[in-house]
């Protein structure tokens, strides 16, 4: 296949191109780079970065530990709050979290490189499989966790630390959830997601059963009788549709499937990609799909987003990364119709949009963008079944701040619940906090009643 062939085709690049294009986006800092970066931290009082972190990692402390030559101590500081600190260091939108809060932005418009420093420390600990936690004496309790993604793994680790047994049910073949299937390849190279699953479960007492989908292989009520508590962390499995003509054509794909395929394939040269690709959406998924389409050899990749730049869910950094990779981002365009030629995608008709009286409206003006492939990245939805009488809020599981659902003995966290941003780090925080809540509930129930004199 030649590089510029029309249609959707595999093998547009040389083997060397594939290797280069999908290499680690930010190689780990070496020791000297880490020391220089760490030296820039002011060790702020009540540090704003720490407040901005959903898992509240003690960032000034872990950076100070790096600067004093104690990367393992630093890693423990990170893992104390976030056992998936390794992946978060790679995928967190730090530019909208800790690094946005860094006081160095006010001083000189350049924050301390917190994410890279976090990766430096966690990599050192994980490469030597340095385990910092031991299980408490067994409580005899077993908790079912649904979903082996960030929320489920964080919950499982914390529950295991407290001495509980954990059984994780995951619908997919591999554990890790979006860390395994939903992260751009260049952000988590070298099987990092699997290595992290191994690192987290090495504490012991955690059994993972893959290929077990809630609603298909078991229901919530099945678990209720067998386990002392249940944590639901199954994420979002549905993909929002465009609702326009031509959506079923060959060449209209879900961006999440494309991203997953890139992560799972042993050979990227067999993955087909359009010569001209249009990605619909404005979030991280749209960016990840668009950049990787480009890296896979698409000649022309355009993101169409129906609102303006400032409304995009993808951070400014991610937008810049896309444009630096040659992706064109067009705003104020909504999909109107996918144009077919002989049963295949030939283009997309778009309508220009605008804000009128606070509402997004079509202006009536239209245009056509030629495309061989259209990827949908306009969000995901909660599409699980088998949840019985569980209550929902806005299409997601209703929980309180501790992660308790409407059903006694059932907790939930991560993207499947209705609070917090849909981020890995938020899922970790919710899983961890729900585990603490579960532990408190189980331990309180296990206490003998206090004798009143």
């Amino acid at each position: 296949m030649d590089r510029l062939g029309n249609g959707i085709a595999a093998g547009r690049l040389t083997p060397a191109d594939y290797e280069t294009n999908f290499a680690d986006l930010h190689p780990r800092l070496d020791k000297h780079e880490a020391l220089v970066a760490a030296d820039r931290c002011y060790f702020c009082y009540d540090a704003p970065c720490m407040t901005a972190c959903p898992t509240a990692i003690d960032i000034p402390l872990f950076i100070r530990q790096i600067s004093t030559g104690n990367p393992l101590g630093s890693a423990k500081t990170i893992f104390d709050q976030n056992i998936l600190g390794g992946m978060c260091a790679r995928v967190c939108p730090t530019e909208t979290l800790c690094e946005q809060a860094c006081v160095r932005n006010t001083a000189e418009d350049r924050p301390v490189e917190i994410g890279k420093l976090q990766r430096y420390a966690t990599d050192i600990a994980m490469e030597t499989n340095r385990q910092f936690y031991e299980r408490a004496a067994s409580t005899g309790k077993t908790i079912a966790v649904v979903g082996a993604g960030p929320a489920g793994l964080a919950a499982a680790h914390r529950l295991a630390r407290h001495g509980h047994g954990v059984v994780i049910f995951d619908a997919r073949e591999k554990s890790g959830g979006l860390n395994e299937y939903g992260i751009a390849t260049y952000k988590a190279v070298d099987e990092f997601a699997q290595r992290e699953v191994d690192y987290v479960t090495a504490i012991g007492g955690i059994e993972i059963r893959n290929g077990q989908a809630l609603g298909r292989h078991f229901s919530l009520s099945d678990l209720g009788g067998q386990y002392d508590a249940i944590f639901l962390g199954m994420g979002l499995s549905g993909v929002n549709g465009l609702g326009v003509e031509g959506e079923d054509l060959q060449g209209v794909d879900d961006a999440v499937d494309f991203i997953a395929a890139l992560r799972q394939t042993p050979d990227r040269s067999v993955l087909p990609i359009g010569r001209r690709v249009v990605v619909i959406g404005g979030g991280m998924t749209a960016i990840d799909a668009a950049i990787q389409a480009k890296l896979l050899g698409a000649e022309e990749v355009t993101i169409c987003y129906r609102r303006g730049k400032d409304n995009m869910n993808a951070s400014g950094y991610e937008q810049d990364l896309a444009t630096a990779n040659g992706v064109i981002i067009r705003h104020w365009l909504a999909p109107k119709r996918i144009i077919a030629d002989d049963g295949h995608v030939a283009g997309i008709e778009v309508e220009y949009t605008a804000m009128r009286d606070g509402r997004l409206v079509g202006t009536g003006e239209t245009g056509v963008i030629a495309a061989d492939q259209v990827m949908k990245a306009i969000g995901q939805n909660f599409a699980a079944s088998g949840l019985g009488s569980l209550q929902f809020d806005g299409g997601r599981i209703l929980v309180d701040l501790e992660g308790r659902t409407s059903l006694e003995g059932v907790w939930a966290g991560g993207d499947c619940v209705g609070i917090g941003e849909d981020l890995t780090v938020t899922a970790v925080a919710q899983g961890r906090d729900a585990a603490e809540s579960i532990n408190r509930a189980l331990m309180a129930a296990a206490q003998p009643a206090m004798a009143v004199a």
């Binding site: 820039r40 002011y42 702020c44 009082y45 009540d46 540090a47 006081v103 001083a107």
Partner: protein, 437 residues
């Protein structure tokens, strides 16, 4: 254009920047390069007596401490005096001086504390036609174990005796280099003056162990697992050196004695500060050993530009200008009242001022106002200690502003008194009470 030509104890040089007696001045090759780079003078690496030269260790001679980004802050060395033959050095010195008649070349000397030894070497040095001699009474490592260097510098009587011999046996100007490894720098300086020295130079290096290897438990630099204390120098020692220079400059017994200032001079600013505290010129070593000889260009231009900006025409306009402002604590004005002030536009909200004040000082800086992260000085608690200014990472964000006479000090509830009043006059001073009774 400022004139920075320098005359120190009659020795002329085109600028006040000399290289101190140290590795950079050990041989003609280096000194020639230094002069080409623009250095005003050198004090040649210390000569020992005739005969087999000393030997140095063959392992590491230097250790260091670093600041951010591995900036070298302090250097430590265990090198001895020149390990080259005396006559090799003398021949080279003579040739270099001939090649560079406008630059200062001074011979540093360290021989045993015996009259015959000094009497023997002085004519040999004089024959080279260098401009003067510096007596090395400073080195704290190695040579001191043999009764030389700081072993002499720590005994004022020996200093006076040796200086007297030198003044007796040579016509050359004598600069006495002092060790800081003593309790009161004024005593060796006074002794040197009594012996008739033309000048003192200070400080030599400070006895130090720069670090310990936590794997081998050997001090650094480690010579096969063992270490010995070395001499500490570089930017870290500058404050110690400045104080010692000032103490000699303002001591009535040594007042007016020329001083060559040494100790951590790295930039023109450092040099200007030494001059202001009474030094007639400065000597540099660590900065050159860190960055090479080219740094003198920054020193020369920086000093000239500053002098031009301030209207100082010659070095005489600067030298000693700060000496009269160095005083004893008991004479500081207790009616001078200052309060910290935080410029909210410059504040980056790191909170270091708050936590420093809260944990370790006077609980005078807020961390929140109306529930919002905000750092502000509470004047009714602020004693004006300056800690917040020093820990703030943003220059000029926190300033210490003097309260004008008549203003209310919210901490004490008293009005600022415009009159000068010091501890000697204070009612809480037991000595004052005694005098009153």
């Amino acid at each position: 254009m400022a004139d920075i030509r320098n005359t120190f104890v009659g020795i002329k040089s085109p600028n006040p920047f000399w290289l101190a007696s140290a590795p950079p001045t050990d041989k003609a090759y280096n000194v020639e390069r230094a002069f080409k780079a623009g250095w005003g003078g050198v004090v040649w690496k210390t000569l020992g007596e005739e005969g087999p030269p000393v030997v140095n260790v063959n392992g590491p001679r230097y250790g260091a401490i670093w600041g951010a980004d591995r900036r070298l802050l302090g250097l430590n060395n265990i090198e001895l005096i020149t390990d080259r033959d005396l006559y090799t050095n003398l021949t080279e010195m003579k040739q270099v001086k001939k090649n560079w008649p406008d630059r200062a070349v001074v011979a540093s000397i360290m021989v045993p504390c015996e009259e015959a030894a000094w009497k023997a070497i002085l004519p040999l040095v004089e024959e080279t036609e260098v401009d003067g001699i510096e007596l090395n009474f400073g080195c704290p490592h190695g040579m001191s174990e043999r009764g030389m260097g700081s072993a002499v510098g720590q005994v004022p009587e020996y200093i006076e005796m040796v200086v007297r011999w030198c003044k007796q046996y040579t016509r050359m100007p004598v600069i006495t280099k002092l060790t800081p490894n003593i309790s009161d720098i004024r005593h060796p300086a006074r002794a040197a003056k009594r012996g008739g020295t033309d000048a003192v130079s200070l400080i030599n290096t400070i006895s130090s162990i720069v670090s310990v290897d936590l794997d081998s438990f050997s001090p650094n630099p480690s010579i096969g697992g063992k270490g010995s204390h070395g001499g500490y120098c570089g930017p870290a020692v500058k404050p110690i050196a400045l104080n010692m220079v000032a103490e000699i400059a303002r001591d009535p017994e040594t007042y007016g004695l020329p001083i060559s200032g040494i100790g951590g001079v790295t930039t023109w600013r450092d040099a200007a500060e030494f001059l202001a505290l009474g030094a007639g010129n400065v000597q540099v070593c660590t900065a050159a050993m860190t960055y090479g000889f080219k740094i003198v260009e920054e020193m020369i231009t920086g000093l000239c530009d500053w002098m031009d900006a301030k209207g100082h025409q010659s070095l005489d306009d600067i030298t000693g200008r700060a000496v009269q402002n160095v005083t004893d604590w008991q004479y500081l004005n207790l009616n001078y009242i200052a309060k910290a002030k935080i410029d909210q536009d410059l504040c980056i909200k790191c909170g270091r001022c708050h936590i420093a004040c809260e944990d370790t000082s006077h609980q005078a800086i807020t961390n929140q106002v109306n529930g919002i992260r905000h750092f502000e000085v509470m004047e009714d608690e602020c004693v004006g200690c300056n800690l917040c200014v020093n820990v703030c990472p943003v220059e000029n964000c926190i300033t210490l502003d003097a309260l004008p006479a008549g203003a209310l000090d919210e901490r004490t509830g008293k009005v600022v008194d415009p009159t000068y009043a010091n501890w000697t006059q204070h009612p809480n001073n037991p000595m004052t009470r005694q005098a009153a009774e």
